[in-house]
Amino acid sequence: MRTYVLRRLLGAIPLLFGASLLIFLVFALTPGDFIDGNINLTPQRAAELKALYGLDRPLWARYLGWLSQLLHGDLGFSLQHQIPVSTLLGQYLWSSFLLALVSLLLYWTLSLAVGVLAAVRPYSWFDRVVTLLVFAAMSFPVFFLCLLLIKWFAVDLGWLPVGGMISIGSNATGWDYALDVARHMVLPVLTLVMLQAGGLTRYVRASMLDALAMDCVRTARAKGLPERVVILRHALRNALLPLIALLGFELPGLFAGAIVTEKIFNWPGVGHIHIDTLAARDYPVLMSFTLLLAVLTIVGNLLADVLSALADPRIRLR
């Protein structure tokens, strides 16, 4: 096991180099750069600025420059924000992470509970209602859901704030700060949970139906085990195995930011940084952020493989 993890980690190094090259090329080939986007510049001034930012250098020189920077632990300097990329991401990454983590915990719990219940009584009214709700949530865009929640809970009922992460002008610290943030988190978390739980519930249900059909579940019942044990210990443990891969995908998602939800709820997350910097072609930020997600993707998949092997004795690590 240890050698397997070690080998996979070593294998990740060329993979990362490959990813960095791909990411660099993708951005280098994207039409437009940071200077092109400013319509107020005269052609002369634009040329001056391009030279200042090194945007006129050949591709390979720019790639090697970026790479050597990265190897020195420097993520680069944002053209648009004029601060180091690491500082910039630090400002927004953690609020995205907070939102994503809380939602993740909630929707995995919810999906598991609802998916198992639906699978235990397939085609019952509960299953049918859940199915309809899930598909309805899938069929309408995110912003509809956000607007609806804001209308109900913030405008009509006035229970929760419309958006943002803290109250206006708040200087709260400690517990008060945590409570303030928690109040502001309710609606965006609710949105993300409703969005994400849909697909996951279907996965859990399908996987659980499969597991309940296994002969070993019948054996467990024949042993006279309580139904709860049959479902949770015998069926669910088998049903969880294919879901581990899904859990691996969540790792980069924790840091990627929820673009639409963050925007509508004015959540100071990294999602809008991603979109803004893309619109402005702030490549140092984009490349480093994408590379960070790439690293997380690779780590997430590795974790999923290791977890699978730990949970499923049949998968031997090669």
Binding site: G32, P43, L52, L147
Partner: protein, 551 residues
């Protein structure tokens, strides 16, 4: 024909109202009907006004920011030497007065007495010299192009051939003299901008190295009405009143710019989280805001205009008759009605209707006229083909249109496609993001491109794009060049007005682009805020120092 819907009646009424207002420079105000409806949350904020802003990034240096929202923040912190009034005329602010030599090559600015930065340190002509010299730094990468001011010795300093800029001269602590090599109508605005304190920004600054100066972007020091407190990224920017402000300490102790987005700005305003907000203008929004009861609606003309640019390097579009025909063929009235629902107008001049230079007399308005368009195309040799598309020399008249995805273009594209088809021209829309659009445009790989200008402070800003030295799409007209230079070469408004009027007539005949629309802007304030008078050239900043809390 169905009977008129209530919506249509509203639309027509609004259009009439807008027509009356069209020439007015001041905002049209729809006053609050029920100030008692002010939300409790807003009422509880006794000493703070909350304005709205979209996406500040935290570069609070008036010469280093890269987005307009940061600029809005710096306006509050820094103020300007020379500002603009509601008509776009120059207005004395931190500079008490200025003189321009007869030949337009020498500018002498006199600062107000006893000016101080917000930390109480003196604000002198030396700080102005520092600021202007800094803008000539070869490493300077900000958005201000000081070379347009043509300050004498600027290029030499930039190239490292001089240790100071020859044309910048401090006469005494209160007076500075700038010598330029070419006269320019916009020069005063360039050199009369926000001033950086040498004591604060110049401490560790060395020419050629901006790193030290950059760190003060998050610790700005200026002489504007409010002092910067704190930036909470993605949330808000906080300020408190500046006791050293030249016009006196503002009455409201605190000001906050809250970050809002289009999707929920109405809900934020409705629940009292914001006091001042800007909305896209349409009948729906106005109706909703009026229904709130506590909102004052300020409606005024924007200074920008939207346009469709021709690629003059394409043979078909080199022919002025084709350009004219396409302009006649497009029903711009319908476009404006659909998008702005009575709160916009078809653009006839590359200028805002509020500008002092606005005069449409004798300028061809290109009213919608498909028959005339068809006749012009016939004259130009483009004959209708069997498939309804015109052709000439085996070439079909098919034009591509570069556009971004926006509500405006969602209306423009269907209307233009339908209109052009009617006169035998096929339109192929190409949608992309704005940066990619500009890249494609630069590569010359297009026929038509549509976008909107940024806010235009001076008539020159609206026509500079037609000058052959600055035009990126192959438009060349010697007479136009001459008139643009003449208009920029004098500061006499009367003379300039005449020059621009002539220029607009020439441009209209040449049809270098299709002018689409002048829109109106909708700024709203809670009726608890008094003295709020937004205008097109200053936005909320113009009245910020005078605001007061009434309820």
């Amino acid at each position: 024909m169905p009977t008129h819907s209530p919506f249509l009646r509203r639309l027509l009424a609004a259009a009439v109202a807008a027509g009356v207002l069209a020439a007015s420079a001041q905002a049209d105000v729809i006053a609050a009907t029920n100030p008692s409806a002010i939300p409790a949350q807003a009422k509880a904020r006794k000493d703070t006004i909350v304005g709205a802003i979209s996406a500040p990034q935290g570069i609070f240096n008036p010469y280093l920011f890269s987005n307009g929202w940061d600029e809005n923040v710096t306006e509050v912190i820094f103020g300007r030497l020379v500002g603009l009034d509601a008509q776009g005329k120059l207005r004395a602010e931190q500079a008490e007065s200025w003189q321009v030599s007869k030949d337009g090559l020498q500018y002498t600015l006199k600062l107000r007495k006893g000016l101080k930065f917000s930390d109480g340190s003196p604000f002198t002509a030396d700080d102005v010299a520092f600021t202007l010299t800094f803008l000539h730094d070869p490493a300077y990468d900000g958005g201000t192009d000081i070379s347009l001011a043509k300050i004498k010795g600027g290029d030499a300093y930039k190239a490292g051939k001089a240790s100071s800029v020859e044309g910048i001269k401090v006469l005494n602590p209160q007076t500075i003299q700038i010598t330029v090599t070419e006269p320019g109508a916009t020069t005063l605005q360039l050199i009369g901008g926000p001033v950086l304190s040498r004591a604060w920004y110049g401490r560790g600054y060395q020419p050629g190295k901006l790193d030290d100066l950059r760190q003060y972007s998050s610790k700005p020091l200026g002489a504007g009405p409010y002092i910067y407190d704190k930036f909470v990224p993605g949330q808000e920017v906080r300020f408190h009143a500046n006791p050293y402000y030249f016009a006196g300490k503002p009455a409201v102790p605190n000001f906050i710019y809250r970050i809002t987005s289009d999707a929920t700005k109405l809900q934020l305003f409705q629940t009292g989280e914001t006091d001042l907000e800007g909305f896209s203008i349409n009948a729906d929004n106005i109706e909703q805001l009026k229904a709130l009861g506590f909102a004052n609606l300020n409606i005024y003309n924007s200074s920008d205009y939207s346009l469709i640019e021709f690629n003059h390097n394409k043979p078909a579009l080199k022919d002025v008759r084709v350009r004219q025909a396409l302009t006649y063929a497009l029903d711009r009235k319908k476009l404006v009605d659909v998008v702005y629902q009575g709160y916009g107008s078809v653009a006839t001049l590359p200028l805002s209707p509020v500008s002092w230079a606005y005069d449409t007399k004798g300028v061809n308005p290109y009213n919608f006229d498909p028959a005339k368009a068809a006749a012009l195309l016939d004259q130009a040799g483009w004959k209708l083909g069997s498939d309804g598309i015109r052709e000439k020399g085996g070439q079909k008249l098919v034009v591509t249109l570069l556009a971004t995805k926006s509500l405006f273009n969602d209306a423009l594209i269907p209307i233009a496609k339908e209109n052009f088809k009617r006169v035998g021209v096929e339109l192929r829309p190409e949608v992309s993001d704005f940066n990619a659009l500009l890249a494609k445009r630069k590569a010359g790989n297009f026929d038509l491109a549509t976008f909107r200008t940024s806010g235009l402070n001076d008539p020159h800003d609206g026509v500079a794009r037609f000058r052959s030295t600055e035009n990126e799409v192959g438009y060349k007209n010697a007479q136009v060049d001459k008139l643009i230079n003449a208009g920029n070469g004098t500061l006499d408004i009367g003379k300039r007005k005449a020059i621009y009027h002539q220029l607009y007539q020439v441009l209209a005949n040449d049809a270098p682009l299709i002018l689409l629309a002048n829109r109106k802007l909708l700024y709203v304030n809670s009726s608890r805020i008094g003295n709020y008078q937004p205008d097109v050239f200053n936005g909320i900043f113009g009245s910020l120092p005078k605001l007061k809390i009434q309820y």
